[in-house]
Every structure is written in C-alpha cells, then in structure tokens.
Symmetry: C2
C-alpha cells in the first residue's frame, strides 16, 4: 500500500529574486513597484509562484527571464522564508534566489514595462513583507561568494578596467581596498587577459582594459581557489 499523503497540508510556494547589478560605481538591486494588492504601490523584489511542473530553479529562471530577457543568468538558491504571516493574504512560503546580472546589457524596455528600477544598496527603499530580510541575507551571501570565487564575470561588462573590478569588490565588501595589493592579488590569480585597448573615458592617460580568461577562471572556480582580496 502506498502512503498517499492525503492528510498532509499543502502550501503556496513563492520564489522571490534578489537581482544584483553593478553600474561602475555602486552595487545595485533591481526592484519593482507593485501594481496589485496587497501593498500596491510599494517596492518589492520580483517574484512569482512555483508551478506544479517546475523545479525551483525553473521558476527562478522563468521569473528572471521575464524581467530581464536573459536566459542564462547566474543564480543561486538562498533561503526559504516561512514565517506564518509573512504574506497577509494567505500562508505562503518563499524561496529567495539571488542573481547577478550585467546592468549594461539590460533591456530598458522590460524595466519600464514592469516599473522596475535599480537602486543602490544604501538607497533602496523599504520593501514589502520580509523582502528586506531577504536582501540582507543575499548581500551576506554575495560577500561570501565574492571571496570564494571571482564573480566579476557576471557583473562586469566584457571588457573592464582594473579600477572597475576593484570598485566592484569594494562595493560588495563595503570596504576600501589598496590599489597595489588588489592588482597584485588579481594578477596572481592568472584569470585576466590584459588587452592592447584602453578605456579613455576615465582619465587623460587612459587605462588598459582587461577580459576574463573564461577557461582559467572556470578552472579556478572548480579548484575552489579562494579570491580573498
């Protein structure tokens, strides 16, 4: 006889996404203004409900794809939030995902369509439900990631300057880093290719552009080499 689980409770399962981006200055998150009740008009993470035919990763991908148009976004499951009254309408648990995207490639039209907006972490408005808590947790996770793998790939444009990479790390870790030590460390990892090309927008002298060497980068990640800056 199969146990048919008939007597067990079923619940709604939401998936909410913390989307990080980097605009060469600040670490940002993408938020939307809710156009439905409850909490209409307030800012929130983007989210949706898990469907019967999806895994959680599927659901997170679907939701991310809607808002960004991208398909292969870096994404990790973060945590299950389950306070009884976290959603006033009905018992709903939410699995938070965090994602990293390159702001520059991002489709402006989709953003408009969803009344979405990038906020730098410090200036982000207060969010609905337990979304603030989710963001806090995501920032901590992102920090851990940043020192366990070189996450720049996901957040920077294809070509970038050392300064940009350093700024990215400074905004993730929320601390100033020493320029020389940073460069030495990064070069030691042997995951960047220095290009001939220079970026002339930031100074008269211009600064060399770099690219990630995808192969070495991946090997580096696999080996679990740390990127402690």
């Amino acid at each position: 006889m199969l146990n048919n689980y008939n007597t067990e409770d079923k619940v709604l399962l939401a998936v909410d996404c913390i989307i990080f981006g980097f605009d060469q200055e600040d670490l940002k998150i993408l938020l939307i203004k809710r156009d439905f009740e409850p909490e209409k008009g307030k800012w929130s993470l983007i989210g949706g409900f898990l469907k019967m035919t999806e895994t959680l990763d599927d659901a997170a991908n679907r939701i991310l794809n809607h808002l960004t148009g991208f398909d292969k976004i870096y994404m990790e499951q973060l945590y299950n939030f389950s306070k009884i009254d976290r959603d006033p309408v009905e018992r709903t648990l939410s699995v938070a995902y965090f994602a990293l995207i390159n702001i520059e490639d991002h489709d402006e039209k989709l953003i408009e369509q969803y009344s979405a907006k990038w906020f730098s972490i410090e200036e982000a408005p207060s969010l609905i439900f337990d979304h603030n808590q989710m963001v806090q947790k995501a920032i901590l996770r992102l920090r851990r990631r940043a020192i366990s793998k070189p996450i720049g790939f996901e957040l920077l444009p294809e070509k970038f300057t050392m300064r940009q990479l350093q700024k990215l790390y400074e905004s993730i870790l929320d601390e100033k880093l020493d320029k020389r030590n940073f460069i030495n460390k990064v070069n030691g990892l042997d995951i960047l290719v220095k290009l001939e090309e220079k970026d002339m927008t930031s100074s008269r002298k211009g600064s060399y552009l770099y690219q990630f060497d995808k192969e070495k980068y991946d090997r580096n990640v696999e080996d679990g080499i740390t990127f402690k800056i």
Copy 2:
C-alpha cells in the same frame, strides 16, 4: 481588491533532517529504516511534512524532537530540493535541515523505537529519493561551519580531551591535522578552559579534560572569528 492567489498551485513541503553526531572516533549520521511505502525497508533521513501552522524551523524542531527527545538542537536550514519526481507518490518539495547532536546524551530507547541507527559517513547505506544528495550537501556545509565557528560545543560531551576535539575536526574535514599546530591554534582562540581533571581511559598518563568557555565561545562566534584549523 486583494489578489487571492486562487489560481496558484499548492505543493506538499517535506522537511528532512541530516543529524550529525560524533562518537569519539567518527563523524556519524542518524538514519531510520522506513516502515512504510514507498521504499519500505530502505534507509532514509528522518523527515515529515510541514504543517499549516508551523514555520520550517518549527517543523524541523518537531521532527528532531520526536527522534531525539532533545529540544534545543543546533540546526540550520540547508537547501530546498525540488526535482519534479523526487518523491514518486506525489509532487513534494523537501527542505533539508542539518543538525548537530551529542551522541552520548542521546536516548537509546527513542532510537530503537524508530529503528534508527548511527552510521559513520563512509559506511552509510544508500538512501531513498534524493537523500544521498542532501547528505553530501550537509557535509559540505558542516565543513564550512567547522572553519567559520568552533562547532565542538554541539558535538562533544561537556568535558573532552584535546585529542577528541582534534579527532572531531579531522573527521569533519576528512584530513589529518598536526597535533601541535592544532593545539596552538585552539589555545590561541581562547575559548577553552583546561580542567584539573584528567581522562584516564585513553592512556596511563591520562590527558587533561577541557571545557568550552561558553561566553568567550559565543563572543567569538558573534565576531565571526574564523576557526580555520
């Protein structure tokens, strides 16, 4: 108008617990032999279903309490497993929790009653569903925990020898450690109290017993001081 979520799918949500213990030699996990279908007679993690009135932590506590009799078990949410067919009976997601308990205090009767058994990690049988995967993930998490906080508190008896503490770390990290370096490092953390008392079971000379200094230990954990051995 409130959005009432009526059209959204609801799912069963299980909670499965990976319970770690340490018996002075090996790191172990507690498994039960299923006495119901599906997979009756096979080994599995202990688990249960989330009830409408509980948070996930509540559910994990309830399940842990049933099997161990303990109330304040160290416990962390691990990951939500959501493959479509992970449970052959019905679409069920499972939130895995990992827990640490001191084998010695553990109630033998409860173990018997549930046909539970401690297995050392290497000798554990293959488990039902995706439980092997859960255990793997739990081990990795435990390793990370072991180097970010001194987890001994949860897994060792109140009084223990340096050797035991070292053995514990060796079995968690799955590598041999140097005795002198280990002791120097641990002493440097200033979280242990050396007692007058000796443990005479392991040698003629006997070895000093230690206790954790709960206050310093907690401060240490709060400060996020690493316990990288």
